[in-house]
């Protein structure tokens, strides 16, 4: 049977990708940020997961206002890199895992989650920046990735509670897959940031710290937080943090945080990063 071997949470700021792609990661502005992922790169090279299920949001790249799926699961064999207005990021295409993805779609839908199945989808910085942070700049990504795109652009996004429950359903799906695949689940986006309007630039380090604490120790309680509290305390784009609860739901109630990192700023955003393992 397949299993969930670890959870990773990380921000997915586009400027991080641009810094890497343009060879600026060693600059004083960026160096502290990338230093926070040195442990993570070693950790994942040792863990060698067979598949990554990566929860992220599309930023009006694959989806526009024409279609707004709440939860969209990428079941394709390959996902091309989106051109977000500056040309596609010079990173390898993302290789999927259609067999496991279809199994997860089938299992979660049977389990009452109305998943949208996607067979053709370009992926943007929301998905590729976390891969770059964890794997650097390889010629090919070392592991297949199943994208799970969550709407957090059009209000209302799914609730934290719904995301947490979906994480649990994804775990049940993975654990009912017959081959012994070791799956890592990534939850991305956040932390506090606001990109729009006169309040742009908002950062709330105290909120972020409490969110990290709650995600580790008491995610069921954290999942009850209403949308307005995310927007008020963490900024209009801080709502992306609901996606971290999908990852958390796929893990045991009791986890160990083997790595925790927080840095301000990356462009307009507070960067948070956690690596969680089930307690053995």
């Amino acid at each position: 049977m397949a299993s969930v071997v670890a959870g990773v949470a990380t921000s997915h700021v586009p400027a991080i990708g641009a810094a890497l792609d343009n060879g600026r990661s060693g600059e004083p502005y960026w160096q502290p940020l990338f230093a926070g992922y040195e442990f993570s790169k070693r950790w994942i090279a040792e863990l060698k997961p067979d598949v990554i299920l990566l929860v992220y949001n599309d930023h009006a790249s694959a989806f526009s206002l024409d279609f707004i799926p709440t939860f969209a699961l990428g079941c394709a064999a390959e996902f091309p890199i989106a051109d977000e207005g500056w040309g596609p990021r010079p990173v390898p295409p993302v290789i999927g895992h259609p067999e496991l993805a279809w199994h997860i779609a089938q299992s979660t839908i049977t389990d009452d989650f109305d998943m949208t199945i996607v067979n053709k989808m370009e992926v943007d910085h929301g998905l590729t920046v976390p891969l770059s942070l964890m794997f650097g700049q390889p010629a090919a990504w070392p592991v297949p990735v199943i994208p799970l795109a969550v709407n957090v652009v059009q209000y209302p996004p799914p609730s934290g509670r719904r995301c947490f429950m979906l994480g649990k359903a994804i775990r049940r799906a993975i654990e009912s897959y017959p081959a012994p695949l070791r799956v890592a689940v990534f939850g991305t986006g956040g932390m506090s940031h606001q990109l729009q309007g006169p309040r742009a630039g908002l950062i709330n380090a105290a909120f972020d710290s409490q969110f990290l604490d709650g995600l580790i120790a008491d995610p069921a309680k954290l999942a009850q937080m209403p949308h307005i509290e995310y927007v008020r305390e963490a900024g209009s784009e801080g709502i992306e943090l609901v996606m971290w609860l999908i990852m958390r739901g796929a893990l045991d109630d009791a986890v160990t945080a083997v790595h925790r990192f927080y840095h301000v700023p990356a462009s307009n955003t507070a960067v948070g990063h956690l690596i969680l393992e089930n307690r053995r």
Binding site: P14, A15, H59, A60, S61, S64, L65, D66, D83, E84, G85, W86, V153, Q154, Y155, P156, S192, Q194, L195, Q196, G197, P198, R199, A200, G201, L202, I203, N204, A205, A206, F207, I228, V231, R232, E233, G235, S236, E237, V264, P265, S267, N268, A270
Partner: protein, 131 residues
């Protein structure tokens, strides 16, 4: 009614709710069209002529032509779409954010380096009025 009135109490923030999405559909889809290089070229060649391809309101046309970024949000624009117009103009998210806050690029960049805009006094319009 969209059931999102409570969010109006958050200062300097425009929630992209159902009403704004309906109001801003053409505006946002105009921005989406700028994902294609040939459309960017046509738009750059003649902003006003290009905008005629989309069913924008006169107010939305004015906001685009004058690059009034906050007004675009008020008229149903969403930042992930208007940022594509920004990218067409060569503006990054940081540069756009600075423009929307009315700050200079230098002052905004320094604010972010200093830890960003603080939350105190920025949670609630009511709280501000009381304080």
């Amino acid at each position: 009614m969209s059931g999102t009135d409570a969010f109006d109490d958050i200062p300097g923030t425009t929630l992209f709710n159902a009403e704004r999405s309906r109001q801003g559909y053409a505006l946002n889809m105009f921005c989406m069209s700028l994902m294609k290089a040939e459309n960017r070229a046509a738009f750059r060649a003649d902003n006003a002529a290009y905008l005629k391809r989309f069913a924008l309101t006169p107010g939305q046309v004015e906001a685009v032509l004058t690059r009034d970024w906050n007004r675009m949000l008020e008229l149903g624009g969403n930042i992930y779409y208007t940022s594509k117009l920004g990218a067409t103009d060569g503006l990054s998210f940081v540069q756009l954010a600075a423009l929307m806050t009315g700050s200079t690029q230098e002052a905004y960049a320094q604010m972010m380096l200093d830890g960003g805009r603080g939350i105190e006094g920025n949670r609630s319009k009511t709280e501000r009025a009381d304080g």
